[in-house]
């Protein structure tokens, strides 16, 4: 079983062109934040984030690599309703987009396949982030007649 992961992405603006501190072994210093601008989200393993209309809660239960990075990324998401009850049989789609450059990926959307071992956990088709920088990830959930989504801006390291 893959260990639960904690990944921290920097908060606050990071000016382009500044060299990340590479002097020590401090975990946060390993983020190549020179390619990211603006504020971006902080994610904590298993800490649910509410969708925009509060219909669902989404938690990242497994992430590889532990910080989003250029290249292939694998996510497993837990989806519950607002009261915390796992949502089975939903449509879960992740759409990465890089607004600073005005492009997404091809294909644009990545579907979450429901886990056979955990109710409400969806293993998203691996997506290949083509470059480092700030990316916005939209997670769209459709459960019956209810559709809701959340959007996160994350620093993808190079």
């Amino acid at each position: 079983m893959r260990a639960l992961v904690w990944f921290v992405v920097g908060l606050g603006a990071c000016a382009g062109g500044e060299t990340a501190d590479t002097n020590g072994s401090d975990d946060t210093a390993l983020i190549d934040d020179a390619a990211c601008t603006g504020a971006f989200e902080q994610l904590v393993a298993n800490e649910p984030i509410a969708t925009s209309d509060d219909a669902f809660r989404v938690a990242w239960v497994d992430v590889d690599p532990t910080r989003p990075a250029k290249g292939e990324n694998r996510w497993s998401l837990s989806v519950t309703d607002a009261s915390g009850v796992p949502v089975a049989g939903a449509s879960v789609v992740v759409t990465p987009f890089m607004s600073v450059h005005g492009h997404g990926l091809s294909p644009a959307d990545y579907v979450g396949d429901e886990s056979t071992t955990a109710i409400g956990v969806y293993e998203v088709t691996p997506f290949n982030l083509s470059m480092p920088g700030t990316w916005e990830f939209t997670v769209t959930i459709v459960d019956g007649a209810t559709t809701d989504a959340l959007e996160l801006a994350l620093c993808v390291q190079g």
């Binding site: 390993l30 601008t37 250029k70 600073v100 005005g102 290949n128 083509s130 920088g133 390291q157």
Partner: protein
């Protein structure tokens, strides 16, 4: 004596206090670097930098070019493909590379890590310090003993000027003054070449980061390092280290470069199909580099309701050259070279260039008029009502037609023709079906 020095150097990483600064001639040898930097060496060993002077197509072109220019080509090719061999006087024209020590061939560790200035804009204007101080991206390198180390922004991929080091070789003006390879210029004028938040350097795309220790045998911290595999589009045509990994990296890079769309409007007497390609992932044109030789083209097929193929362009059998078929709707992206109106095929002949490439993006805002600059559109027609249509993009690092010219002149072994890869970019495969109605489809 030499064996003794080598053994001392190889032992340096386990007992750094024993070995002092190495002779600069030893530092020129990548295998000496390998002893302390095994990961970087392994990554580099599979790169086209390491392969640059061993590539049979390069050797064939250089041979033919020297012959057809009566030797006037000189070190034009090897100045980039074997720069240390040129700097040390081991070669003046690249015709004797079989006799040149392997450690002087290709673009080596020593060459890049000794650069202390970029003194021009093309054709390798790099100045080497030749002082044995190995420059890199680490601001506070741990003292090595075997060589001094220093930080250089030219080797720090997070710094904008690092693109100067790469770009000044990946930008070529031909002997007759034609700007035939423009990768650096393409990047500079793109969205990615602008300093500031949106900028991405060559290294940030071609040298992926990973967490690790830069050296073995020393007490160094874990840092954010960068791979030296440097994938582009070319692959070795001869047995070469790390071949599978290099192919994997090249495919991943190509597959993330383009967005494709096919809009189909079925009708009588003809169906109109509008194909759109967008270069979103390459920080330069697509293709780039030796764009007179590279082949990038679009395959479009359409079928009627009885599954009869009613229109086809760009479809080629394995081993079939792009121009071996009369294909009046062929949509391709490349440069063409001319000398006084006549088309020519080798870089030493070219005076004028016409270009049709997928430009790198220059604007991120769809409302910016420049946003469309990296989009290309082509309209195709098919007879009757189309029920199914598909599109996909193919890439050949060097066109089979170019290889055929080198084979015909006796400069290239015909066996290499079958080894030239042809990439089909699955990320561009679009499949439109009539159930969608008149509409646009994406992968």
């Amino acid at each position: 004596m030499r064996t003794g020095v080598a053994l001392l150097l190889l032992g340096a990483c386990t007992s750094p206090a024993v070995v002092g600064p190495a002779d600069i001639n030893e530092l020129m040898k990548p295998e000496v670097c390998q002893s302390c930097h095994p990961d970087a060496y392994r990554q580099w060993s599979g790169s086209m930098h390491a392969h640059a002077a061993d590539d049979p197509v390069f050797l064939a072109m250089n041979q033919r070019g020297q012959r057809e220019t009566n030797g006037e080509l000189g070190d034009f090719c090897v100045n980039c493909h074997a720069p240390m061999a040129v700097r040390t006087g081991a070669t003046t024209d690249g015709l004797n590379l079989d006799d040149v020590p392997q450690y002087l061939k290709g673009v080596t560790c020593f060459y890049c890590h000794q650069v202390d200035a970029v003194e021009g804009t093309h054709n390798n204007p790099l100045r080497l310090a030749m002082d044995g101080v190995m420059r890199g991206a680490i601001a506070d390198p741990v003292p090595a003993g075997i060589h001094d180390s220093a930080y250089s922004a030219l080797l720090d991929r997070t710094q904008h000027e690092s693109a100067d080091l790469c770009g000044s070789c990946h930008d070529i003006v031909s002997p007759k003054g034609a700007h035939i390879e423009r990768t650096w210029l393409e990047w500079q004028t793109s969205l990615y070449g602008r300093e500031g938040g949106v900028s991405l350097t060559c290294g940030q795309c071609h040298m992926d980061g990973y967490d690790g220790k830069s050296t073995i045998g020393f007490d160094v911290p874990t840092r954010r390092l960068h791979s030296h595999a440097m994938p582009g589009v070319d692959l070795a045509l001869v047995p070469w280290p790390e071949a599978d990994e290099q192919r994997r990296l090249v495919v991943a890079s190509l597959e993330s470069s383009l967005l494709a769309q096919l809009c189909v409007f079925p009708n009588e007497p003809t169906t109109t199909m509008v194909a759109t390609l967008e270069n979103v992932g390459a920080g330069h044109s697509f293709p780039s580099g030796a764009v007179q030789d590279r082949r990038v083209w679009v395959e479009v097929n359409a079928w009627d309701a009885d599954d009869v193929l009613v229109m086809s362009t760009g479809k080629r059998a394995p081993g079939q050259g792009l121009y071996e078929v009369d294909d009046h709707q062929l949509w391709e992206f490349r440069d063409r070279h001319y000398d006084r109106g006549d088309e020519v095929h080798f870089f030493w002949q070219v005076v004028d260039v016409t270009s049709s490439l997928l430009d790198a993006p220059v604007a991120a805002d769809p409302l910016d008029p420049l946003w469309v600059q990296n989009h290309r559109q082509r309209t195709f027609t098919a007879p009757g009502v189309v029920a199914r249509a598909e599109l996909v993009v193919h890439v050949e690092p060097v066109g089979l037609d170019i290889l055929d010219l080198l084979i015909a002149s006796g400069d290239l072994d015909p066996a290499f023709r079958t080894r030239m890869p042809r990439f089909t970019l699955e990320s561009t495969r679009v499949d439109w079906r009539a159930e969608r109605g008149a509409s646009c489809a994406t992968p």
